[in-house]
Symmetry: C2
Subunit: 251 residues, 2 copies
């Protein structure tokens, strides 16, 4: 039986619709929201492109600020946008820091008992696709791709590279080193005025080196003058949707 | 001497920059913020397109959510975005309602002594253009146009139709009736799923009737299924920038 979804809102945009839902997540043990941009057509076999957001975001930032719906409508691709962590569990200390706890799920399965609800890897890889495909028969979730920003860009890489959840590691650079048969091209944009780049929190060159070592097809574009914000995302999101669209064209 | 501006932020977007400033407004008697999107080129003679926001907004909503920077960059037009009211004056009752007081300046000069600081008409028509032209010599503010949404769409119409501030009226439908020589085309988009349309708060058909009566060139487009949100704005903002660009091309 398809998971029960409560629809919270619907707004037309570029001829498609931004839809927002709430559901009870068995994986996370709390109520979760997510958003879908449903393109105007066709009525069936629509591929799904998952977007994973960065720290502090929920499922609405990308929908409100990226302008990605224009390109998604043009390519006939649905955007599926989850939240970034469990919410409302009131774990002690869950909101003390912007980069730990609420808003900071890092798309992994936590191993510490205290944080047992932080299973965003399983939520994004298993529960959410099932909830989506069970409720929207016009979507073809076997045609799926994944992208994101910051914590979510790294999350998209690790989810793509893990394929299964056999590994314990959640570091894209470590994962690519173990992987000699990545053949699908990866596209990364990085603003060179991004303060987190200067603080050595992002390390895209390490990932680039690792890709070179195993022959993985990476395009890393350094974008002069751009920072870490949604203005940067909005500027380049069309290129990323076009990149994923190459591999999502339905037969 | 040019008004002193404190720059609050700068973020690159579509090769231009979103810039945010604070300044002391003599007209409003308080500190105000505004935003400018400066297109990537040319280095001089850039026309200015003013955007007036709706109720509850400040100068950032349009910059963050509309995606208008793409078309502004393509047309070489600067977007100048003021706040919607004075702030921080602590007038009794100023924040009791979303449609009166803070966030609700209605782009008029108030006549009630208690609200003497609410002079957004003078601020937008006189003080802000002077502050902008005095600080950015690459802008040609004699090449200017104006648009907006909701309260701000109406504000843009009244400011355009008044030309001077001789009138006491602040109703676009009344103003157009007095005006037999409006020759510059006006473009209005209206979502037909907009709840404020159903509540008779918008009355675009009244404005259309008045335009017909005086021969003013109005294009009113009813957009099926669209609501009052920034998703609606983002969908149609390119058409509006192209509309204004027709009249802003520098020689």
């Amino acid at each position: 039986m398809a998971a029960a979804l409560e629809q919270l809102s619907s707004s037309k945009m570029f001829d498609g619709f931004n839809l927002r839902f709430r559901h009870q997540s068995a994986t996370l043990g709390c109520s979760m929201t997510f958003s879908i941009y449903m393109p105007p057509s066709p009525a069936s076999n629509i591929p799904a492109l998952y977007w994973l957001s960065g720290l502090t975001c929920n499922d609405e930032n990308f929908i409100m600020k990226s302008g990605a719906q224009r390109a998604a409508a043009a390519h006939g691709i649905a955007l599926v946008v989850p939240d970034t962590s469990p919410r409302g569990l009131n774990i002690e200390g869950e909101s003390d820091s912007y980069d730990f706890g609420v808003g900071a799920g890092f798309y992994l399965n936590a191993t510490n008992e205290k944080w047992k609800n932080w299973r965003m890897y399983d939520y994004v890889v298993k529960e959410l696709p099932k909830a989506v495909s069970g409720n929207f028969e016009q979507l073809n979730t076997s045609q799926a791709s994944i992208f994101g920003h910051s914590m979510g860009g790294h999350g998209a890489l690790t989810i793509y590279l893990k394929n299964t959840d056999k590994y314990k590691e959640y570091d894209a650079t470590c994962l690519i080193k173990k992987n000699n048969n990545v053949s699908t091209p990866i596209l990364i944009d990085q603003g060179d005025a991004d303060k987190f780049l200067a603080e050595q929190q992002l390390l895209p060159r390490n990932f680039e080196e690792a890709c070179k070592a195993v022959g993985a097809p990476l395009t890393l574009r350094m974008q002069p003058g751009y920072d870490h914000s949604y203005y940067f995302i909005a500027t380049f999101v069309d290129d990323h949707i076009a990149h994923h669209a190459q591999f999502l064209k339905s037969a």
